[in-house]
């Protein structure tokens, strides 16, 4: 890997396009922007950026970010390369099929772009903890799953620091999120704790198409109804290979194709094709190279703005569509006041380690701060959820009753743990951050 290299003539010329932008003032710059060589230096040598997903958007993002001056890039992807990726995921070749997307992509960029250092992680995002995510200045997502988006959203929000209820802006890691579907795409900039997060705007994601079960079973009209029937009802019943459906197994798809064709013929429904069967079973979202290029580029531009303050970032959501001409629309998505993910400012609460759980519950019910009625309490330890006590559900109450007489220490709680407290007096589950005092103090 190259050193800072700023002094070398070679790099000086190579980055002259970026230097003009960063070393000259301009009328549309952010008010705090200071034109100086320091900015490019920061970008190249200090700024650390994380790309999540090395697929259609991820490949483009790595390239775009590398040319916008980012050199310390990490990329996470748990997937391996498939043939159907090659029409757009341009860092992969036929010979790479079956290999890790993250590793092949990182290797390609590092070879092509001198001085760029991409670190691949062939893993799930859930394999990493706070200390991993905390090292980045910016996170850019090129994902196709809402679950993964929400997870990373929750993770980055959990890194926020509040001092006396006031957000410490130094703890903010901006998230830039891109998404595509066919010729449509969207880009958003999230400043967790300040602007709308993924969970604030969950209804912006198109709902998955589901058909009523009774239609599928009794009044099918569309080829999709016939395919869903085979998938939801016939497969579990006949289970030809005694395994769940694998959308990548051509035998499975052929079986479903055959059975849904039979069903369609029975009802005189036209239009069952092999391609449609694959699409319905695997929930395939159409994708082209051009939309990925556009959306990733817009994300990279926003990352560059955030890292350099050279202009104001997108505030905060842009939709793109090039079905008819080229259409874009930028607007401010609003925060949801009762957002499950980002409205939660963890409240600190102090207890002695030898305080019994029932005393803690009594405090929640009696103290003027809470005045709860029937709090149910869970916590998260070692990556698992635990129910400490819940009075409202008989079977849980019975099994957790024993915890009431135990001390917080005996329950294995430690300083900094979060208690999730649900109570009818509050619209959402309240998050309490436990400060555990030594019993002698």
């Amino acid at each position: 890997m190259m050193g800072s290299g700023d002094g070398s003539d070679n790099l000086h010329h190579r980055w002259s396009h970026l230097r003009k932008i960063l070393e000259r003032p301009g009328p549309f710059c952010h008010p705090d922007f200071e034109a100086s060589p320091e900015t490019l230096n920061f970008l190249m040598n200090s700024c650390k950026i994380l790309v999540i997903g090395a697929g259609g958007l991820g490949c483009e993002l790595l390239k775009d970010l590398a040319y916008m001056g980012f050199r310390n890039i990490h990329v996470i992807d748990m997937d391996t390369i498939e043939l159907s990726n090659l029409n757009r995921q341009f860092l992969f070749r036929h010979k790479d099929i079956g290999k890790s997307k993250a590793e092949v992509a990182a290797n390609f960029i590092n070879t092509r772009i001198q001085g760029c250092h991409v670190v691949p992680h062939f893993s799930k995002i859930q394999d990493f903890d706070e200390s991993f995510y905390r090292q980045f200045h910016i996170v850019v997502c090129g994902l196709d799953s809402i679950v993964a988006r929400r997870w990373i959203n929750g993770m980055i929000i959990s890194l926020l620091n509040y001092e006396n209820g006031v957000l410490d802006t130094c703890s903010i890691i901006p998230i830039i999120d891109g998404g595509t579907e066919g010729f449509k795409g969207n880009v958003r900039v999230i400043l967790p704790g300040m602007t709308a997060c993924i969970d604030c705007t969950l209804d912006l994601f198109p709902p998955q198409i589901t058909y009523p079960l009774c239609t599928i079973a009794n009044t099918p009209r569309l080829p999709e109804h016939c395919i869903e029937y085979v998938k939801v009802i016939q497969w579990p019943k006949e289970n030809p290979w005694s395994v769940p459906i694998d959308g990548d197994d051509p035998q499975h798809i052929s079986w479903i194709y055959e059975k849904s064709s039979e069903r369609a013929a029975q009802f005189s429904i036209p239009g069952v094709t092999y391609r449609l069967v694959q699409g319905v079973v695997k929930n395939i979202i159409p994708a082209v190279a051009s939309t990925n290029a556009v959306v990733a580029a817009a994300c990279a531009t926003e990352a560059f703005k955030l890292a350099t303050s050279c202009c104001l970032p997108l505030n905060n959501y842009m939709v793109f569509n090039d079905l008819e001409g080229v259409y874009t629309y930028a607007y401010e998505a609003e925060r949801k006041e009762d957002c499950l993910a980002c409205s939660q400012v963890p409240q600190k609460i102090e207890f002695k380690a030898d305080c019994k759980l029932e005393e803690l519950i009594a405090h929640l019910c009696e103290s003027a701060q809470f005045r709860m009625r029937s709090p149910g309490i869970t916590t998260q330890t070692g990556g698992h959820s635990r129910t400490l006590y819940m009075s409202t559900v008989a079977s849980i109450e019975q099994q957790t009753r024993g915890n009431l007489r135990r001390t917080l220490q005996e329950l294995g709680l430690s300083d900094g743990d979060q208690l999730l407290v649900a109570d009818p007096t509050s619209p959402n589950t309240v998050v309490l951050q436990l400060k555990l005092l030594n019993s002698t103090t």
Partner: protein, 537 residues
């Protein structure tokens, strides 16, 4: 629905590779793409980004025209160069790395400037499907645009300049059958029912039905019957105003069955009928289709007429005769609450009427082909069927020649109305023209050298003022734009090029596949505010 299920459903390698895009533009779109040949003039960062998004989906072939040698600056914004490329021919260096993207694609290059090519080989451009240029000078663009206008080859001239992206699209005539509209109103003909539809619906008696059947009558039947009733009371009109529509909705609501307590049941099909009142419109010829039918190219066919116009002429005749003022039936039925049997029956009625209309259209097309001495094979039955399915949403573009933008009188007329808005992004098009002038006068980009930024601002401002004066437009509202453009110094930001590159690749695919509506005709991307805008010049 159109093609029968293949005997052996197992897909070919190629189908698997292109699966995600075949779901968008279909096998016929892909075939068009694979037989296309595009030409790129100047393989800078923007140019190679455009090619990338054409090569990946499998364009047939491409040719690069570029006389430049690779510089250090090129390495900093062009993915299809590496650190060993410096000093080599840019055309040669980029083509090598571009071809690695897809073994299905052929590519070649000419390492001469476009001026040289125009000079030495005037027929060079004759056979391209689309020609794309990046960063070419005023003098060349005028010559090239005239040439391509004569050749009737779509031409896209684009630029990536600092945070600004720009494209001007020139096409003499472009016709689109499949525009893939987002929300298509179903073609149901409830106000002008064809005989088999009338017969089917008249044979259904809703009033005698038990709840289960009643709740599974397709909404089309309900809407038709209630509309009939409404029309009897309203001189055969179609409800237009809110009040009229509301009174039709009331008629529908009255048909919902009540339970034993006199409370209406939840009948979703009736709810669907009530909703559909909103989109109920008289069956007629949309104005953009009327324009196509009345176009000179449609009325006067010649032996050189293109298939689109021959089919349009057949359509014109169909509308005047068999169609009795209506387009051929589209023949598709949206999904709706219904039992299988009734729905499928209704679907078949629509489908077979559409097939009949298409057959009439095909016979007319055959007749026209004979009349103008074209081969009867030049338009297939499949072509006509596709055409018939999309007549109401087809699209015609007549563009203008880029060279006209350099005719002050013509350009002033087109530009002035847009410049009245001081916030219009079109100001960047004006500034880029100013940059052209600057280069002619001074031989560099404004702000290219660090120590010349301040003096260049003054010079660029004077270039822009002169231009505006020539177009009889007032001065710019503020100097900010001039400052900003000088700040860029001709620099190319990769993420801006990648954005514009993706857009222009898709515009190119639109021309090649004749699907989707292209930009008409000027496009600006402002990366500072993350906005885009399109203008017709």
């Amino acid at each position: 629905m159109s093609s029968p299920a293949p005997k052996s459903p197992e897909q070919s390698e190629k189908n698997k590779k292109y699966d995600r895009q075949l779901r968008l533009w279909g096998d016929h779109g892909q075939a068009a793409l694979e037989s296309a040949h595009v030409c790129l003039i100047n393989a800078n960062g923007l140019g190679t980004e455009i090619l990338k998004s054409l090569i990946l989906p499998g364009i047939g072939a491409f040719t690069i025209v570029d006389g430049e040698k690779v510089t250090e600056e090129d390495i900093g914004c062009n993915f299809f160069l590496d650190h060993d490329s410096v000093g080599k021919s840019r055309a040669q260096a980029t083509i090598q790395l571009l071809l690695e993207l897809n073994p299905d694609v052929r590519g070649d290059y000419v390492d001469e400037s476009v001026e040289q090519v125009l000079e030495n080989n005037p027929d060079f451009f004759n056979n391209f499907s689309v020609v794309i240029s990046t960063q070419i000078s005023e003098r060349v663009i005028i010559r090239l645009s005239k040439k391509l206008w004569e050749l009737e080859i779509p031409f896209i001239a684009c630029q990536s300049y600092g945070f600004i992206g720009y494209a001007r699209i020139q096409v003499q005539e472009h016709t689109v059958i499949e525009t893939h509209p987002d929300n298509e109103v179903p073609d149901l003909r409830l106000d002008k029912p064809f005989p088999s539809l009338k017969e089917l619906i008249d044979s259904i008696d809703i009033s005698k039905m038990e709840l289960k059947d009643h709740a599974h009558v397709p909404y089309v039947v309900i809407l038709y019957k209630c509309l009939q009733q409404w029309q009897q009371e309203n001189e055969g009109q179609i409800p237009k105003t809110y009040r009229e529509k509301e009174s039709l909705r009331k008629l529908i609501r009255a048909e919902i069955l009540n339970n034993d307590d006199g409370i209406p049941h939840d009948e979703e099909n009736f709810e669907e009928a009530i909703k559909a009142v909103n989109t109920l419109a008289p069956t007629n010829i949309p104005s953009h289709v009327r324009e196509i039918l009345d176009d000179e190219s449609c009325i006067n066919l010649t032996s050189k007429s293109k298939p689109f116009w021959i089919m349009a002429k057949a359509l014109r005749e169909f509308v005047e005769n068999e169609g009795a003022g209506a387009l051929p039936l589209r023949g598709t039925l949206p999904d709706m609450t219904a039992d299988t049997e009734r729905y499928i029956h209704l679907q078949q009625v629509y489908h077979s009427q559409a097939a009949k209309d298409a057959e009439v259209m095909f016979r007319r097309v055959q007749q026209l082909l004979r009349e103008i001495n074209q081969s009867p094979d030049s338009i297939t039955e499949k072509d006509v069927k596709l055409f018939c399915k999309h007549t109401s949403t087809m699209h015609l573009v007549r563009g203008s020649c880029i060279a006209d933008d350099y005719d002050n009188k013509i350009f002033a007329q087109k530009l002035a109305p847009h410049l009245e808005d001081p916030e219009s992004a079109l100001v960047y098009a004006v500034l880029l023209r100013g940059v052209d002038r600057f280069r002619i006068a001074h031989g560099t980009y404004p702000g290219e050298y660090d120590d010349q930024v301040e003096p260049d601002i003054v010079k660029l401002k004077s270039c822009v003022s002169k231009l505006l004066n020539e177009w009889s437009c007032g001065p710019l509202a503020k100097d900010d734009y001039v400052h900003e453009i000088c700040r860029y110094g001709g620099g190319e930001l990769h993420s801006i090029s990648a954005f514009v590159g993706g857009c222009i690749a898709q515009e190119t695919i639109k021309f090649i596949t004749s699907q989707y509506k292209p930009i008409h005709n000027t496009f600006i991307y402002d990366g500072i505010t993350s906005n885009t805008a399109s203008f017709t010049l």
